[in-house]
């Protein structure tokens, strides 16, 4: 016996279980073919348009900017926790503070660049606008 | 004190200088740079004579001039350029520079006076050729020899194809280049093998490869395994290496089966034929064997092969010479045949004899070619002997010198060729009777060839010079000037007398061994390992060659008789006012000979009608197997490439899938091999 057998069993069970359930239900369930069942919403709501809607790219930009701050927070948080005790232990300011300032400084350069290049100004897509007005007409 | 050896590099450099001058400034020089070439070769000749005299004073020279790749440790080899001046190379230097000088002078008449264009190119080629040949002669190691050997081949390509606007010369040049190159591949492999085995390629001295090989033989001084023989018995391995080098020799010296390029090379200008394809370049092969004779002497197998190739080529080429119409073709086949004799001599243990024949042949064959050139000038570049006749009266100088050369070629006493050819045959005979019976076969072939030689030589002489003029041109030939006659006279005298330096039969008869000058010349010398005495010892100890004692008189008379018989037959048949084409009576044999045994195309062996299937098989082999392999390799790679392209579908999910599959396969294979899953 070795431990790989357990992993192999896990794999086998993982595949066999869902397939077994699907097969079992396919065997047991009654078959009543009816048109209403193929509708998207069985409640009767008639869907309009397609499912492929284009979001405004701006949401994506905001998400990216958010990510930057997110990661920043992840790094700053543990740093703040140990900062005071580190200073108390006698770690010099240049070792405790300066690296974090450099880190934030780099992020600031990036943020300023993104800002200046219009990442946070809400742009309107002329094409999307045109499509919207077309639909309303 | 500054001696001859300090100036020896200039022997090589002077013609090279003339090459540069002709190449760069030939257009602006009078005669297209001819005088530069004449001056340079004359300088080389003078220096060669000086070297010769110094060497005859008992001094020799074996020194490295320049190391172009220095080995860093004991095991690595150094590649060097150096000079080896001993009796053999000193003699060869004189031959090469003398013939080169005469050919340069002759070219004034043959090229300049005939109003050829492109002369700077011509003289540049001659200069480079002379330089490379001289460099080859003085080379002190096999690699340097190989480099100059290749340069010589290149020059021959350039010069044969001199008239590159015509159809024949370029293809002849290509053929010469390719066929000799084929042999040189083996040579190159041989050079590498020599380096790999001995770690040096020097010809002479205590660290030379023939000497190391000698010590490494069973019973030699070196312990077993002193040299790496790649798992073979030393003698076997040395035979293999020797035969590889021999590949280059066979190509360059136009021996069977790589002789086919030489007759075609006659497409080049006649002085070039004289210089390159008769007297010097073709000699390079034979010279190389003589140069490393100490190596070949260790292997009776290699010697027997050399002797057989030589004897067979001698006979084979002589028969083809019998039926040729063009004067230069006859000479071409006689050249092949004569080099066959030299190889026979070397293979039969007659180192001195072969060297002797090399020397005499250089003189009389250069003479014959230059004489033929003179005839060709006179005949307005018509080479067909059947259009000549009766030229004897019109051009007496050419006739008498040509006759001298012909007598030498046919081996009629006392002209040069008799002494040397006779000695070659004598050596084959005595060593054959002395136990190496195989040599008797080679001897027989050589002996039969004597008859043919006498016949075709005098057929040529009679057709060209005797009888009635058969065409308008022959009745009123074009005159030639001093620059043609001069070289002819010099060579004519040499052809008549050069044999006197080594009259073995006479010495035997009169009991005066002192007159065998060449024997003494090659036997002495400061480098012990390259003397003929040493070679004789080697032959006896290693190759088991023993000479029976036999008077040279009887064999000499036999071969003289055969030569006279051949000449006499030619006299009866062709020395009439209007000769008939007697060789037509030979019927199918004539067709065979005339077409060179159908040797020209290597695939087509015998007759067009008989062996066409064989030819077709060869063709099929070439098309199907050789081309097929070549095409196959390329199409396989293209096909495989196409497959790879197909994998690259452009669909990124396929890539991800293949990537994962590949990784999984690697994990599985290495996991199972490394036992990771246990």
């Amino acid at each position: 016996m070795n431990q790989w057998i357990a992993i192999g069993m896990l794999g086998v069970v993982g595949v066999a279980l869902p397939i077994g359930m699907m097969v079992a239900s396919a065997l047991i369930r009654p078959r009543v073919p009816e048109q209403g069942k193929t509708a998207t919403y069985e409640s009767g709501e008639v869907p309009t348009g397609t499912a492929r809607i284009q979001f405004n790219i701006q949401y994506y930009m905001v998400a990216l900017l958010f990510l930057v701050f997110d990661i920043e927070t992840v790094l700053i948080f543990p740093w703040t926790v140990i900062y005071r005790s580190a200073l108390a232990e006698g770690v010099s300011l240049s070792k405790a503070l300066v690296p974090m300032l450099v880190f934030i400084g780099v992020l600031v350069v990036g943020l300023v660049w993104a800002w200046r290049n219009g990442a946070v100004s809400w742009v309107t897509s002329p094409r999307a606008l045109r499509r919207k007005t077309e639909r309303q007409q | 004190m500054v001696g001859a050896f300090d100036y020896a590099p200039a022997i090589v450099l002077l013609p090279f200088l003339s090459f540069l001058v002709a190449l760069a400034g030939g257009k602006y020089l009078p005669k297209g740079g001819a005088f530069g070439g004449i001056a340079a070769t004359a300088g080389s000749l003078l220096l060669s004579v000086w070297v010769f005299l110094t060497v005859s004073g008992g001094e020799t020279h074996n020194d490295t001039l320049y190391t172009w790749v220095a080995g860093v440790s004991e095991e690595t080899v150094s590649l060097e350029l150096g000079l080896l001046l001993d009796p053999l190379s000193a003699m060869m230097l004189i031959i090469v520079s003398l013939v080169a000088l005469l050919v340069h002078v002759f070219s004034l008449g043959y090229m300049n006076d005939e109003g050829e264009t492109g002369l700077p190119r011509y003289y540049a080629g001659l200069g480079l050729f002379t330089a490379s040949m001289l460099g080859f002669v003085v080379a002190d190691n096999l690699l340097m020899a190989f480099m100059f050997f290749e340069l010589v081949g290149l020059c021959s390509y350039l010069l044969i194809g001199f008239w590159f606007r015509q159809e024949g010369p370029p293809s002849a040049a290509k053929k010469a280049f390719l066929v000799t190159r084929f042999g040189d591949y083996f040579f190159l492999v041989g050079v590498v093998a020599v380096f790999a085995t001995f770690g040096t390629a020097a010809f002479a001295g205590p660290d030379s490869f023939p000497h190391i090989a000698e010590l490494a033989m069973p019973g030699g001084e070196s312990p077993d395994g002193a040299v790496n023989t790649f798992g073979f018995d030393p003698r076997t391995w040395f035979t293999i290496v020797g035969l590889l080098v021999l590949g280059g020799v066979v190509g360059k010296s136009a021996q069977f089966p790589l002789h086919t390029w030489l007759p075609d090379a006659m497409e080049g200008p006649t002085p070039v034929s004289a210089l390159i394809h008769a007297a010097t370049m073709v000699a390079a092969g034979v010279y190389l064997v003589a140069r490393m004779y100490g190596f070949y002497a260790l292997s009776p197998t290699a010697l027997a092969i050399i002797a057989f190739i030589g004897g067979f080529t001698a006979l084979f080429a002589a028969t083809m010479g019998v039926v040729k119409r063009e004067i230069k073709q006859v000479l071409a086949y006689s050249t092949i045949s004569q080099y066959g004799y030299m190889m026979l001599g070397l293979g039969a243990g007659g180192y001195v004899a072969a060297t002797f024949h090399l020397m005499t042949h250089a003189f009389f064959k250069a003479l014959l070619f230059l004489g033929a050139g003179s005839v060709i000038i006179a005949m307005h570049h018509n080479e067909n002997m059947w259009d000549m006749g009766g030229l004897k009266e019109k051009m007496p100088v050419t006739y008498y010198t040509f006759l001298s050369g012909s007598l030498a070629l046919a081996g009629i006493v006392p002209f040069a060729g008799f002494w040397s050819k006779d000695e070659v045959l004598y050596e084959a005979l005595v060593h054959g009777l002395g136990g190496s019976t195989l040599l008797l076969g080679a001897y027989a072939m050589g002996l039969v060839a004597v008859f043919f030689t006498g016949f075709y030589t005098f057929r040529m002489v009679f057709l060209t010079f005797h009888g009635e003029p058969r065409t308008e041109t022959a009745r009123d030939p074009h005159g030639v000037r001093w620059n043609v006659k001069g070289p002819l006279v010099v060579l004519g005298v040499l052809a008549a007398t050069a044999g006197l330096v080594n009259m073995t039969p006479v010495a035997e008869m009169l009991g005066m061994p002192g007159i065998e000058l060449l024997h003494k010349w090659l036997a002495h010398g400061g480098i012990e390992m390259t003397t003929s005495e040493h070679y004789v010892t080697l032959l006896e100890e290693q190759a088991d060659y023993h000479a029976t004692h036999l008077s040279p008189l009887v064999p000499g008379l036999v071969s003289l008789g055969l030569a006279l018989a051949g000449a006499g037959l030619a006299h009866v048949l062709y020395n009439v006012p209007s000769p008939e084409r007697h060789t037509d009576k030979l019927g199918a044999i004539k067709t065979l000979w005339y077409n060179n045994y159908y040797q020209d195309e290597l695939q087509v062996w015998l007759a067009d009608g008989v062996v066409r299937p064989l030819a077709r098989a060869a063709d099929k082999f070439d098309q199907g197997v050789v081309d097929g392999v070549v095409d196959g390799v390329s199409s396989v790679s293209l096909f495989a490439g196409g497959r790879v392209r197909r994998i690259q579908t452009g669909i990124v999910s396929n890539y991800a899938a293949l990537l994962t599959l590949g990784l999984t396969a690697l994990v599985l294979v290495f996991g199972i091999m490394g036992g990771w899953f246990v």
Binding site: R116 | L663, G674, W676
Partner: protein, 498 residues
Amino acid sequence: MQLPSWAALGPALVLALTALVLLGLDSIDPDSTHSSALAGISALGALSALGLAGWYLLAGTGQASTGGPILLYGDALVVDGMSLFFSVIFASVAAMVIVASYDYLKGRTYQAEFYSLVMLAATGMTLMASSNSLASVFVSLELASLPSYALVAFLKRNEGSVEAGLKYFLIGAVSSAVFAFGISLVYAVTGSLLLSDVASGLVDAGDFVGVAGVGVLLIAGGFAFKTASVPFHFWAPEAYEGAPAPISAFLSSASKAAGFAVAFRVFVEAFPIASVVPMGIDWPLLFAVLAVVTMTLGNFAAATQENVKRMLAYSSIGHAGYALIGLAALSQGGPNGQVMGASMAHLLVYGFMNTGAFLFIALVEHWEVGRTFEDYNGLATKAPVACTAMTVFMFSLAGLPPFGGFLSKYALFYSAVQGGFWWLAAVGAINSALSLFYYSRVVKAMWIEEPSTPFELESKPVGLYVAVMFAAVGTLLLLPGFGPVVETAQTAATALFA
């Protein structure tokens, strides 16, 4: 005067600083492009990084003569001969690419972003060469990769470029996942990410050899992606073909070299042959297999291409196979420093000749001549100088004397033979011979063929010409200068094994 130890990272710091300066400049005036100023600053940055790296390398910083490797930031980074050697490669390739881009980008927007992305990628590569812990390896690898994805897709209006960028990114994501998984497995076994600790941890792997083996193999996969080796090569032909030609040059030369730099260090330091191979984790054999497959596949595929840029892309895969010999021909007690050093030297020479070849493509794209071999017909009549340079690159790539590529390949194969891996050298030599076929096709098209339609070349872009010439001169000078180069590389590599 003794510089502070952090100054040893000077090349990387200079490159990063340049990137920030470029971004800052663009923030001040985002709406207009000052191409000369931007290109000038970037070139200055790259050249100062090159100067610093070269100076350190010559001064012996981080080498045995001055007290051995300099370890920084809790041993996460290390500066030694090898990292400096590779910094020289990255900085010189970046400099050439920047100079060439000046003309290539003429009239395009987002130039500041382009240059700063190049500098950031170069920073990442320099850090890759200095990484001493699997964490910094991963971070620096991503720092090099992410700007590369954006750069490949730089031609926003060009479908090929965008598609190539996306594919590169997707394959890159898969490979990063594989790589990260590998790191996690190794960490699980050894309990450390520092290379030296990993090495000592592996000794007591005990029952977990299998886990460690899979981890090592997955890490190798991550490097194979970066070096474009089979089976992680799929992105390369598309990305090199679709990307702007200077970026193709950058990726195929510098980025590939970076992959090798980090692979050399990680495998030698973290998975020493002496302890790992007897355990059944035979990674030299793995790389031998990859090397043979990669060089064969790259060369065979290159032979059938019609598009010159794509041909170069495949040839670059083939060259990855040659360089892999530096990892494959290693054995316990073999001349490992020689082998790896020869591979490093080959990467340096390759950096020049391959960059030059791609920059020539950039030049041709600039002229809008066309992309296939036929389109190159008769190019030499119009631009003989550039075509001479291209001929040098082609023959050098094929490994013909008397060009730099000959000696580096020779040294590589020779050292492989010395190490007893003659069959690897033989496969390499056969592939080199095959490669001559398609390299000479370019030369033949340029010099011998007649142009099918007459064409005129309107301009001679100075920057591109300068970059191409610089690469050509570099390729030629590396023939006489190869001795010191290979010596430096082999010393640096030997120090790694010590």
